[in-house]
């Protein structure tokens, strides 16, 4: 167990390094990061001064070591727009994004798992048709578009929910729903197919041959085994939601990291963009690590390093 955890921790750190390298390279792959970060109308002298200030004229290795040593302590420079440390701006936005993504995920899991399970247990039934329909809709409806339609209908016409911002308790309902919709589709689909597969495993037949009651078979034998891939997808999808929230936060003017990213791109505030990208990746990597630990708790084969 400890060995497994250490291996995964090592992988996560390696991935973190990869992310830092990737972001660092990306900003320099177009040639001149100074030109990328300054407004297009900046003069040559301004660019030169900026380059000097940011240290872009030093050897690339020196720059990277400097970048790394600062990154370790969470220093990604100052936001060009706000003139304050980029990381602070990002962490201020974290709670809003987590609230949105967690609500969306909760909705996706609470609806997706039971429906997917019913579909998988009784293929061809009405419940299965519903499961397939939901999965298909979740995958086919562009959620940023649905968000606009919902604002129009539930916000402007019916006035049930606020159309933008984070305030009253119900302001999270619409953005969380649209953010969770594709994830719900994924979860329904995966739960259904996993349950369908596990249903015909030999050990399920054994469970039936023991005369166990169907609820016991469904929950203890099928769902518990199915939960392993489901949990892994939930981990991945949570990462997707943190990244994908850029659309939803933008549309609903939800003051989270996604909205900040969209604004920062508009301002060409690359220190800020870079800080968001790295911070979100860190969160996602940490979540994946957590997912793997949950995995190990459910699946003894991982726990015992088999």
């Amino acid at each position: 167990m400890l060995r497994y955890f250490l291996i995964r921790l090592g992988q996560s750190l390696a991935l973190m390094f990869g992310v830092l390298l990737l972001v660092f390279m990306m900003l320099r792959v177009t040639g001149d990061p100074a030109a990328l970060m300054l407004p297009r109308e900046a003069s040559a002298a301004e660019i030169e001064a900026f380059r000097e200030r940011m240290g872009f004229n030093r050897p690339i290795i020196v720059q990277f070591v400097d970048f790394l040593s600062k990154a370790v302590v969470g220093d990604f420079g100052e936001s060009l727009h706000f003139r304050t440390p980029a990381m602070t701006l990002v962490t201020q936005r974290l709670p809003a994004t987590v609230e949105l993504a967690a609500t969306g995920l909760l909705f996706a899991v609470l609806i997706g798992v039971p429906i997917g399970m019913m579909g998988g247990l009784k293929p061809g039934s009405a419940a299965d048709s519903l499961a397939r329909l939901l999965a298909l809709m979740g995958q086919s409806i562009p959620n940023f578009w649905l968000a606009m339609l919902m604002i129009l209908f539930f916000g402007v016409q019916l006035r049930w929910f606020p159309t933008f911002g984070r305030g009253a308790w119900n302001s999270v309902v619409m953005p969380a729903f649209v953010l969770g919709l594709p994830v719900m589709g994924q979860i329904v689909r995966l739960t259904r197919s996993t349950v369908l597969e596990i249903r015909s495993e030999d050990f399920v037949r054994t469970a039936y041959s023991k005369g166990l009651e169907p609820p016991v078979i469904y929950l203890k034998h099928i769902l518990r085994n199915a939960s392993i891939p489901i949990i892994s997808v939930i981990g991945v999808q949570f990462g997707y939601m943190l990244g994908g929230s850029i659309y939803i936060e933008t549309i609903f003017a939800w003051p989270g990291m996604g909205q900040l990213l969209q604004l920062a791109i508009g301002w060409r505030d690359f220190p800020l963009v870079q800080a968001i990208a790295i911070f979100t990746s860190t969160v996602v990597i940490a979540l994946n690590l957590l997912t793997d630990l949950v995995y190990a708790i459910i699946d003894p084969r991982i726990r015992y390093g088999f």
Binding site: G124, I141, F144, L242, I251, Q262
Partner: protein, 308 residues
Amino acid sequence: MASETSPRPADSLLDIQRTWWDRLAFIGRLLWRDKGGMLGLFLFLLVVFSAVFAPWIAPHDPLEQVMEDSKMPPAWSVGGSWEHPLGTDTLGRDIFSRIIYGSRVSLTVGFFGVLIAGTLGMIIGAIAGYLGGRVDSVITNTVNLVLSLPYLLFVVFIAAIFGRSLLNVILIFGITDAPIFARVTRGEVLKIRESGYVESARCAGASWARIVFDHIMPNLIGPLITLATFEMSAMIFYEAGLGFLGLSVPPSVPSWGNMLAAGRQYLTSYPWIATFPGVAIMITSLGMNLLGDWLRDVLDPRLRRARK
């Protein structure tokens, strides 16, 4: 005994004794039985058709601005006309025509994106699966790690750096999506390697080319075609998303994402501007997902039998 509880193994669609014509006829019969797959194919062909024949279908030039016709609602609502069936945008451009032309952008991105991602991924995955050992573990770990990153975030990040152009969008999707193809290819190659029939074919004196084309490819092609369909659908989705953020093709190009972005500003006053491009995305995505589902069922005989 597996062969007894499950009935006699069905003839595989990819059975090498069958001719290509047999397989096509067989696919046709299966398609006819699956109404979802039929609908998917129909929707997909509809989009392809409109992309290919855009100049003949579209009633207007998608770029033509007629200011006196601007903000015209769809034909069936008050103030609309059949001259502009889905209305016009704020610059007086015909929305229907722009949607028709927009399918070209979406399909181009989807097709070439998948082509690049598929080619890269297949090569990487095949190397990993075939060589095994250390090469495999390095590739597999890298692929798994890359896939665990917040994908959209990186796409947005890269797009913001490289700027708006069709080629950039295709390259971004083509490269960032390759790991998925690599993972699937590797898994299938491993399965084939373990199954032993490649070994028997080699013992029977089959040539290298024969092994690859008769034994390995038919088994790879099913999962990869299915994956390609889903990934193409996802890319069309993401392209629209990038466009929505103003990070896809240049604003002058009629693309569904660009149209959504433009329509969003007038959401409450002229809702149709943003509504119809979304419908187009949904139809395309729905079609490809249905098609993908059906392909998966058909190309995997094991699944096909499990269904009623």
